[in-house]
């Protein structure tokens, strides 16, 4: 039971994610080859011609080098709710919860969004975010803390006529913790019910946000904004926090061979989604699944709309225009039960292969007003076999062929295996932080596999050079000079230990993941290493058969490098760490002060210690700090502590703000007489401003 179930609020609006992008190219972590222009945006337009007509692209610091990392919601409004009788409510006359604002904290710094690692920008995490429910007069009715969690089910081709981040879509599911309420001035039975459940469940709620339509064009009005579809409902400790353990619908093209499709057919580009059966109703979440089209419009919500003919998913993209004779894409979408437990071998289903349950609303209005959640009544005749046969999303039968087209369905045997915690950091410098738990849930046809033996296996994807995040400029001379890092080396650094043979009553088995005793610098200029592991049922598992996993449903694990804190910690020790930080986050080093220069860092020792000392999930925790090992963070804190001890606080306000290196921010680095990165014989930085 989760956000899908009563009492549920559905909201829509915008989100902002002002992520910084200098760190999107791992080579920018190399202090030795860093150039000032890596803090400038990519050319707009992306590719231009020089005076001689030659094509020129320099990625520089990518599309938002001055990003602040800020995440937040904007103009999000509760559009509908699921009432107690199972009816959906769309007007505030029916319940005062409709029309409320879903927003951020009003009294603390904004939440932040960061990638797990520059070599894995596919599990970005929100932290320090508070979610509030507010009345029109601004009164906060509900406030909860977003448990930091990365997005899942990311796909890059949901918007068929866009590319890159603007074409992408993903969903964030998490719990809100420390939820507090003030319903004294609102008469909402639905919120009263949600509050009662939340208070019984340790003051938690379930939240799901699906995000798409992100504007990554610097200079656009809505640059750094995108569309968010949200749902809030009850959270229960028996269930995973970051996904729905239920009916997992897999795109048919991932299950069937390409040869099983007829080339002339257009196949709508529907993504992965999940559904959950509650008594006789199946709730399916299509928020991250329906294909979209982009059209120029004044607001993001009107620019991105559902269009089943727009997609690069499978089949022939031009078929609808060219006259696809069978025109499956024009037929209504229905949820059906397949009549055999073994998967069909062809996506073209004959009438005896499926039992239709109901047509689903795939309109854009439904996407925005119900957060893409559809309710499918399941007749008693089907309930009997509901836990034995796969469910599917299909088109209704084409009059031309009499066949339906399979779009998505449950995998072989209806098995699902998913890890609740999958994007992790391990730290050999801290024994406690070098071992982590991951709760893995197992279900079949949506029913948790309770108290039964299961065997899981995690498989390294092997050494890979991260070419994807290290593009080459045109002409190539301006490409960053540092070599692209190789991930997943050295091998066998991580140990996955299944704690118990059997799942527990909730279908969960815990994997303990242990980091190595020590790790060097396999990525040379970048701390730690990135490892990714696919996971599934082991071949010899007593229950479960290996299933198809979503492309990015993998363990993504960063292991920090071993670092011994020097005693005492000197400026020469911390300068390279701070230099890298200053390079990667110009919004901090140039927008505030340049802490890579001793004079400025020391003058601001108080504020630097203040932020480095913050809990890891505090919104003031800078993105870079989350990239630091515990020991490097400790070294920084010790250094600034010693500065404070020796010098006391700055002698005056002017002293604090007056230390500005003439070569940074204002002028090019070459203006520094001795070179900002040079070191003298004692290993001390040789900038005269120090």
């Amino acid at each position: 039971m989760s956000y899908l179930q009563y009492p549920r609020l559905a909201f829509s609006g915008l989100f902002q994610s002002d992520v910084s992008t200098v760190n999107n190219d791992p080579r920018h972590f190399d202090n030795a080859t860093f150039e000032d222009r890596f803090q400038e945006p990519t050319f707009q337009p992306h590719l231009k011609e020089d005076s001689g007509g030659a094509k020129v692209t320099a990625y520089n610091g990518w599309w938002n080098p001055w990003g602040t990392g800020i995440f937040g919601l904007k103009n999000c409004v509760v559009q509908s709710a699921l009432g107690q009788d199972g009816n959906e409510i769309f007007s505030s006359g029916e319940d005062a919860a409709i029309g409320l604002t879903v927003g951020n904290a009003g009294d603390q710094p904004s939440g932040k969004m960061v990638d797990l690692d520059p070599d894995w920008q596919l599990a970005s995490c929100i932290y320090g975010q508070v979610i509030t429910l507010k009345a029109a007069n601004g009164q906060v009715l509900m406030r909860g803390e977003y448990a930091p969690n990365p997005f899942r089910d990311l796909w890059f081709n949901r918007v068929g006529n866009q590319r890159g981040d603007s074409a992408a879509s993903a969903m964030w599911q998490t719990i809100l913790t420390n939820v507090t309420w003030d319903l004294s001035k609102i008469d909402s039975p639905l919120l009263q019910d949600l509050k009662a459940i939340s208070e019984q469940q340790n003051n938690t709620l379930s939240l799901r946000m699906t995000t798409y339509g992100y504007d990554a064009a610097l200079g656009d009005s809505f640059f750094s904004y995108g569309i968010v579809l949200g749902a809030i409902g009850p959270a229960y400790p028996t269930e995973p926090q970051s996904f729905i353990l239920g009916r997992r619908f897999i795109p048919a093209a991932s299950l069937l061979p390409a040869s099983s499709y007829q080339a002339e057919d257009y196949v709508p580009n529907v993504g992965w989604f999940s559904a959950q059966l509650v008594e006789n109703t199946l709730y399916a979440d299509l928020s991250n699944a329906l294909p979209l089209i982009y059209k120029q419009a004044s607001t993001p919500e009107t620019a991105y709309t559902v269009d089943v003919t727009c997609g690069s998913g499978s089949g022939s993209a031009t078929a609808p225009k060219n006259g696809d004779s069978n025109q499956y894409w024009q037929r209504p979408f229905i949820i059906a039960q397949l009549t055999a437990s073994t998967l069909p071998t062809s996506p073209y289903l004959q009438p005896n292969q499926y039992q239709p349950l109901a047509t689903v609303d795939i309109s854009n209005a439904n996407l925005l007003s119900r957060s893409g959640i559809v309710s499918i009544p399941v007749p008693d005749s089907v309930i009997a076999s509901i836990n034995q046969l796969p469910l599917a999303l299909i088109t209704s039968a084409s009059p031309a062929t009499g066949n339906a087209l399979l779009l998505c369905c449950e995998g072989n045997g209806g098995w699902e295996v998913r890890a609740d915690q999958f994007a992790l950091r391990l730290d050999p410098n801290d024994a406690e932080a070098n071992t982590l738990d991951s709760n893995v849930y197992v279900a079949q046809y949506g029913v948790p596999l309770a108290n039964a033996p299961v065997a899981l296996v995690a498989t390294s994807t092997g050494p890979q050079v991260d070419f994807g995040d290290c593009p080459t400029d045109t002409p190539p001379q301006t490409t960053p000079r540092a070599p692209a890092p190789t991930i997943n080396v050295p091998a066998d650094q991580l140990a996955f230990v299944q704690d118990t043979t059997n799942t527990n009553a909730n279908g969960m088995v815990n994997l303990t993941i242990n980091g190595p005793q020590a790790l060097g610098y396999p990525r040379y200029y970048m701390d730690g290493q990135f490892f990714n592991y696919t996971y599934n049922f082991a071949p010899d598992s007593a229950n479960g058969t290996a299933t198809v996993q979503q492309q990015f449903d993998q363990y993504a694990i960063v292991v920090h490098s071993t670092y011994v804190v020097p005693d005492p910690v000197t400026w020469a020790d911390v300068q390279p760490i701070l230099q890298q930080y200053a390079n990667l986050y110009p919004v901090m080093s140039q927008g505030l002060f340049d802490f890579s220069k001793k004079e400025q860092a020391d003058a601001n020792a108080f504020i630097l210690k203040f932020v480095f000392d913050k809990p890891i999930d505090d919104p003031d925790q800078m993105p870079v700090t989350r990239d630091l090992s515990s020991s490097k963070r400790r070294a920084l804190i010790q250094y600034f502590d010693s500065v404070l001890q020796e010098q006391g606080r700055p002698a005056s306000m002017l002293d604090m703000f007056g230390k500005r290196c003439p070569t940074r921010g204002g002028g090019p680095r070459t203006a520094c007489p001795e070179g900002a990165l040079s070191y003298d014989q004692d290993g001390k930085p040789g900038c005269p401003a120090k």
């Binding site: 800020i70 009294d107 603390q108 606080r649 002698a651 005056s652 604090m656």
Partner: protein, 403 residues
């Protein structure tokens, strides 16, 4: 010079009720808060990395205004009141009027850091009161403060009157500081660089602490008015980083209450703030005149702006839309969206400061984070053209929703 209604001063000098004292302390909070948007607007108009000395000077001044607001709020808490920071913040509208007790003769507007804004607004706000014949350090001719008897008095006079009223009240009411609620007061030693002239931790426990706090506010704003001229040049040699003794203005210490007695004579105004820096008027003066203020025996005031250059390169100053409100920007434009974001962050900051001074001083942790966030978001606003008919103007971070 900002001035304040004389009747408020007169009432304080006569001695007044506890409620009236709280009102006066609240006025002090309003007054200090009202200077922050103009100075921050000036600071935010400096392009990153440029005009570094000028930016540092303005930053140090605005931080001191925050300190003054804190000291005033601590004083209010000590005598049983709490400020409504959100309401004060939302009541401020520019160009003026400042809170209704404060003179609107001076047009305080929000604009970029230019010599014009420095002269007409910033230095005008901070200008020390001078009497006929007095010449301010660095200046050549006397410019006595215009006297408008019965209507307005200077901020310095207001603070002196507040201290007088506190002294009178304390003498007749031993309970005045009996419950200073120290746990609610903000410990400045945690959040500001050391302020040697302020009471310990910036907390107000008794009348002496109140006097030290008020003295710090006046000295940092207007400079020290010394009892004799002998410290003048000696003071000037005390630059930041050197230890020194603070010279307090005895005329506003409670034990030496002098009432309206004239203690300042020609050339006895000292530009130092008693804590190693110049007072605000002279810091702004350095930017305006383009050079640091130095002792100068040749100069008629004993001081002149002939030190190291303080550059104000106006080509590196964003040409801000003056007195910006969110409603000035075209809905849906990049400027409008960034401006709303800045305004929201400013409201969040006011809300967190309201918590700080209403029983949750630990909320300062969040407020500090928001101050840095505000600066980053101000920079984002400044990346947007205003558009429409104001094509040559850059969007300014708005401290107001509408006009």
């Amino acid at each position: 010079m900002l001035s304040i209604r004389q009747n408020i001063i007169d009432q304080l000098l006569k001695g007044c009720s506890l409620e009236e004292l709280k009102k006066a302390a609240n006025t002090a909070v309003e007054l200090e808060l009202s200077t922050i948007p103009p100075y921050l607007t000036g600071l935010f108009s400096v392009m990153p990395g440029s005009n570094q000395r000028a930016a540092a000077l303005v930053q140090s001044i605005v931080t001191e205004e925050m300190l003054h607001m804190t000291l005033a709020a601590n004083l209010l808490i000590a005598i049983g009141g709490n400020p409504d920071i959100v309401a004060i913040g939302r009541s401020l509208s520019y160009p003026t009027p400042l809170p209704d007790k404060i003179d609107d003769d001076l047009q305080v507007g929000l604009a970029a850091l230019t010599k014009r804004q420095l002269k007409n607004v910033f230095m005008a706000i901070e200008r020390p009161e001078t009497k006929p014949g007095e010449i301010l350090p660095g200046e050549d001719v006397p410019q006595p403060t215009p006297v408008v008897p019965g209507e307005f008095g200077s901020i310095g006079q207001f603070y002196k009157a507040l201290l007088t009223a506190l002294t009178i009240a304390d003498a007749s009411n031993p309970e005045l500081f009996a419950n200073p609620r120290l746990e609610q007061q903000l410990d400045i030693s945690k959040w500001f660089p050391p302020v040697r002239t302020a009471p310990a931790e910036g907390k107000i426990r008794n009348l002496d602490d109140a006097a030290l706090a008020i003295n710090t506010i006046v000295a940092q704003g207007e400079g020290i008015q010394t009892g004799s001229g002998s410290h003048a040049n000696e003071e000037g040699l005390y630059q930041e980083g050197r230890s020194r003794k603070a010279h307090l203005n005895e005329s506003i210490l409670p034990r030496h209450h002098q009432g309206g007695k004239k203690v300042v004579s020609t050339n006895e105004i000292h530009p130092g703030d008693g804590d190693g820096s110049y007072a605000h008027y002279f810091k702004f003066g350095e930017i305006f005149h383009g050079r640091e203020l130095m002792p100068d025996l040749e100069a008629v005031s004993g001081w002149s702006y002939n030190g190291a250059p303080v550059q104000l390169d106006e080509s590196q100053i964003y040409n801000f839309l003056p007195n910006a409100a969110v409603s000035d920007y075209i809905p849906g434009s990049a400027a409008s969206i960034a401006a709303q974001r800045f305004y929201d962050a400013y409201q969040m900051l006011l809300t967190s400061l309201d918590q700080v001074f209403n029983g949750k001083p630990a909320a300062m942790d969040k407020a500090l984070g928001l101050m840095y966030q505000l600066k980053l978001q101000a920079h984002q606003v400044a990346q947007c053209p205003v558009g429409g008919n104001a094509s040559n103007l850059v969007a300014a971070p708005p401290f107001m929703l509408t006009h």
